[in-house]
Symmetry: C2
Subunit: 218 residues, 2 copies
């Protein structure tokens, strides 16, 4: 019995459900069925019920789930109850764009600092967040007790920066560098490789040319 492990994929979908639920709550919906919510989230209703099953049972048979309560439970589970602080390292094109991007804040993260090898570029003028010299990073992390970092440095410097981050106590890294990062088991890394994501699409597009449907039915 007890708290069973929630699969990573479920976590990802819980975030999606949470976003949908917030929209429903804004429209003063009180309950929602698995099929309605599943459709909004782009998944199969069974899958949704299974995912919610990991959190407990609070749906009402014949009716659906209470929107607000469910939203709360998911938020609780995802650990965003306490606005997580985040730092960003590497304020190049992508890094600067992410600093301007409101998406992280919207989901409850606060970007508390940014670091770069070159701390005084013109392009930083328009940013709302100060950009510090990267050598100050370790102390900053320790003093502020930051646990999360977004990494947008060039691939060739990624590993050394990661070493510093880990040593300073960072426990989770969202990396945009196209490299395999070496970290201790206690640190979670999520790699987002933009070029690879595009290649992925490209592959399936290529296969469009050939008529590939109906491979079974005579």
């Amino acid at each position: 019995m007890e708290k069973q492990q929630i699969p990573g994929k479920t976590i990802y979908r819980l975030s999606i459900y949470h976003r949908c639920l917030r929209r429903l709550a804004e429209n003063d919906l009180e309950t929602v069925s698995s099929s309605a919510l599943a459709k909004a989230a782009g998944v199969n209703p069974s899958q949704l019920r299974r995912d919610l099953g990991y959190l407990g049972t609070f749906g009402t048979r014949g009716l659906g789930y209470p929107v607000v309560e469910l939203s709360e439970v998911i938020r609780e589970e995802l650990g965003r109850a306490h606005l997580q602080p985040v730092i960003l390292v590497g304020v190049g094109n992508l890094g600067a764009a992410l600093l301007r991007y409101r998406g992280f804040q919207k989901e409850g993260f606060e970007v508390v600092g940014a670091f770069d090898a070159v701390p005084n570029r013109e392009s930083y003028q328009s940013l709302e967040i100060p950009v510090y010299e990267v050598s100050l990073m370790g102390d900053f992390i320790r003093k502020q007790g930051v646990k999360l970092a977004v990494l947008t440095v060039p691939a060739e410097h990624a590993q050394e920066v990661v070493n510093d981050l880990v040593e300073a106590g960072i426990q989770g890294i969202l990396s945009f560098s196209p490299t395999i990062l070496q970290v201790p088991e206690t640190v979670t890394v999520n790699n987002v490789d933009l070029a690879l994501e595009l290649e992925q699409v490209s592959f399936f597009v290529k296969q469009e040319g050939v008529h590939s449907d109906l491979k079974e039915v005579p």
Copy 2:
């Protein structure tokens, strides 16, 4: 029968292998074993052999794989033999950053045009690619025969833009909008949701000391 379907996750990893192989080729390595390549790519050797198995059999037992040939075969399979042209729609913070980002080009994509509702912002000055009014998009796609699009418009406009893209003949979309997009079956969509990726990391950090997790493709 013959040509068996290659799983999406394998495609993703093939891209990684390809990148590693290029590095090896630059260093004039002639052959590489599954264990060496697997280590560089951050996967299990069995997995790598299984993945390569989808492409045919050209390893030499007792020796390994020929670096250059393998690299060729993967490139062929991924369909990047012909430099795919891409357009980008939505030149906001993220869109502009991606236009400046060299990663797509480096992997063999050419961004041939960019579109936005507001085609003359100051911030476009420094871009190397012209930004056109979004109403010109359909004709552009048809004339140039573009099949791939990167979507970086606000979530609330994403679906309408997608409808236009699909109507103009786009077959693959890499979207950064946090929305479920409705498309015909013939169109491939890959959603990258930056906030969700960060939440994913955040969750595992909260759970003190759980192991890391490689990115997976939805």
